[in-house]
Structures are given as structure tokens and as C-alpha cells.
Amino acid sequence: MIRVGPDDFDAAAELAALHARAGDAGAVATFTGHVRGEDGLAALILEHYPAMTEREIARHAAEAERRWPLLGVTVIHRVGRLVPGARIVFVAVAAHHRRAAFEACEFLMDYLKVHAPFWKQEERVGGTSWVEAKTSDDDAAERWRR
């Protein structure tokens, strides 16, 4: 299940839905990302390329299913204006075993945080500015290359 849009989500309900769908999953790993209120951030404003985002996330979810024996994947990503504390991303992966669930969940998060077609603005008291692409995150995604 992949969803990208402005609406908030209920991590609990998504976790339950994934587990129900995944059948005999022994392991469910999840990641929930929240906007951090560092350095006086008032909000993050996320823009994306809708047709490309859904297509690319689906492609990476399929890639995760090729690499690991998975029973289900949920990816939810929000866009629009998000204030500190707000949920921004949720990835949940069900598998028979914990290692596959953890690794696939990290793989999808590294992809989303680095290569997914999102652009972020930081809104502060002094104004709003575009976030530059980061190199350390790039390194995180690079480790999955092969």
C-alpha cells in the first residue's frame, strides 16, 4: 500500500491493516518520521512530483520485495505544510523473519529520504528557504547499491 498526499495517518491502524494483509508474518518493522522543531523551525513545506513519486516508490517497494522475502509493505508520505511534531512518513514491512523486515524498512527509508522526488522548504520567523540536497543522506542510500 503506497499513499502520498497531505493527509495525516494513523500508524496504529496502518500497522494492523498490514499485519492482517500479510498473513503469517512473524516480524513487522516500522519507521515513523516526525518533523523536528530544531533551530526555530516553524514548518516544513513539502512539494513533490506526484506521478513520479508514486511510480518511483512503487518501483522501490518492488525492488525491496525482490531483495528480501517480504509479506507486505506500507509506505505513506505526506506533503504540504507540516509543523514540528507532525508525522511526515511511515514505512512498515512485514516478513517471516526480523532481519528481512528491518533491512527492507531501512532500505525504503533511505530511498525516501534521499532519492524520492520531494523538495522541502523550511519556514522560520525570518522567512522560507529551500533545503539543499545533503551528502550524508546520499551515503546512507548508497550502501544499498549493488
Binding site: 512539494e47 506521478a51 513520479m52 511510480r55 522526488p117 520531494f118 523538495w119 529551500w130 540536497a133
Partner: protein
């Protein structure tokens, strides 16, 4: 064409349609054509190293070929979610 992030802001719109001008065969040539429009376009396309492109929702290098009806998008490097 689709424009995102500060490219969108500089050109002043998020999308537009364009019949491919004669002699414009690559993404780079299209970007240079847009730069020659001047104003916000000139600012947005002044330095292609700061830009990335996609054709039909796939990331592509600037030397990729273009065809009629392609969906071309210009944007800064993605910052992820």
C-alpha cells in the same frame, strides 16, 4: 513541461505546454532554449549543474533525446522526504 521547487518559483508557473521547436532534440537544448526566454527563465536555467531533469517521470541526463508529447520536468536535486 513541469517545474518544481525554486525552478517553479523562478519561471513563475508549475507547468506549460510547448510544441518542440525545430532543432531542439535533447533535454539540454530545451533547457538552453528556455534560458533564452530571459527573465525568470534565464535565472532558473542559468546553471544546469544546479538542475535535474526527468522525461516521462524518469530521471534522465541532460543529453537525453526528446520526442513530441514527452513530459519533461526540471527541478533542483531532490531533497527527499
Amino acid at each position: 513541461m513541469l517545474y518544481f521547487a525554486w525552478v517553479r518559483q523562478k519561471v513563475g508557473r508549475s507547468e506549460e505546454r510547448l510544441d518542440l521547436p525545430a532543432g531542439i532534440a535533447t533535454v539540454r537544448a530545451l533547457a538552453e532554449f528556455l534560458e533564452r526566454r530571459g527573465g525568470g527563465y534565464a535565472q532558473a536555467f542559468a546553471d544546469l549543474k544546479r538542475l535535474r531533469a526527468a522525461v516521462n517521470q524518469e530521471h534522465v541526463p541532460f543529453d537525453s533525446a526528446l520526442a513530441a508529447d514527452d513530459e519533461v520536468a526540471f527541478f533542483p536535486p531532490v531533497t527527499g522526504g
